[in-house]
Subunit: 174 residues, 2 copies
């Protein structure tokens, strides 16, 4: 599928069909995330796939009750290891967030290319999820997404974006 | 261009032709970033394009002397406004990093689709760049990238990625 068509029509999908994702499709989507770039190629990102019905429901609860998440056949928790390097000097241990976000962005676009829906989930109980998923001390959940075939046809252009003149500046701020 | 071909062959480009990027090409690439998703569609990301030769060289110096950056016709500083919301409860004011990283990832993939090179720059003197670009108090540089037509043909598959078995886990860590 054409790249710009993917970018233009990726939407947050909040209603899923229960149908299983063929493994070869899932592998292509996961591989898009796996080969994503990371700072100095340190690859701090790991994905945890939750497919068990009961566990998906618990994850949805820990995302502050966003119950639609559990309706997708797969829920992905994108985790990042604190790799003790810094970027830009103000980001501290949050530098890893850049790398995980890149991988998840690759994944969401690949999913759209396959006709699969995703939804960036940023609101969750981090400590409780960390315990539930058994993460090591130096690993944190950065984002989650459900993954599955959407109900209906949600893929359409985005709404409510700021105009280019506001988004882009020349030479300096303002 | 096919999405997976883009993902597979995007590489960090560190040698650029000085040739100008046609404005319509630049606009497509910038628009891919502009329409990227952000948490609750709050759109905290802004791009600053540096095209002035002297200013590009200064930016490269502030990226700890990565002089190749200034050889591209355009250098982009991706900035994020601290929008005072939180994700996952451990990220604090670094939450905005997710949104900026999504936008820049869209941009780097769009650039590849156009035959343009980019290079994620995460090593920079944040406070000095912030001053140089005239950013408001609540805005920070998250990442930079040069943008331009590469010298030679750098687009080829990535090297040195961990295998899928290491990248993906089922149900929980380990």
């Amino acid at each position: 599928m054409d790249f710009y068509e993917i970018v233009r029509t990726r939407r947050s999908v909040r209603a899923y069909q229960p149908s299983v994702i063929p493994e070869e499709v899932l592998e292509r989507v996961l591989d898009a995330a796996r080969i994503a770039p990371s700072g100095s190629n340190r690859q701090p990102t790991r994905l945890i796939l939750i497919r068990d019905e009961e566990r998906k429901r618990r994850v949805a609860e820990l995302c502050h009750g966003q119950t639609f998440i559990a309706t997708a056949p797969v829920v992905i928790a994108a985790c990042g290891r604190d790799i003790q390097y810094n970027r830009g000097e103000w980001m501290g241990r949050c530098s890893v967030i850049v790398d995980v976000a890149i991988a998840v962005d690759h994944l969401t676009l690949a999913a759209r290319a396959e006709g699969l829906g995703t939804c960036w989930i940023g609101s969750f109980d981090g400590p409780a999820l960390k315990q539930f998923l058994g993460l090591p001390e130096d690993v944190e959940v950065v984002a989650l997404t459900p993954l599955g075939y959407p109900q209906g046809d949600p893929f359409r252009p985005p709404e409510g974006r700021i105009p280019r003149e506001e988004f882009v500046m020349e030479e300096k701020w303002g």
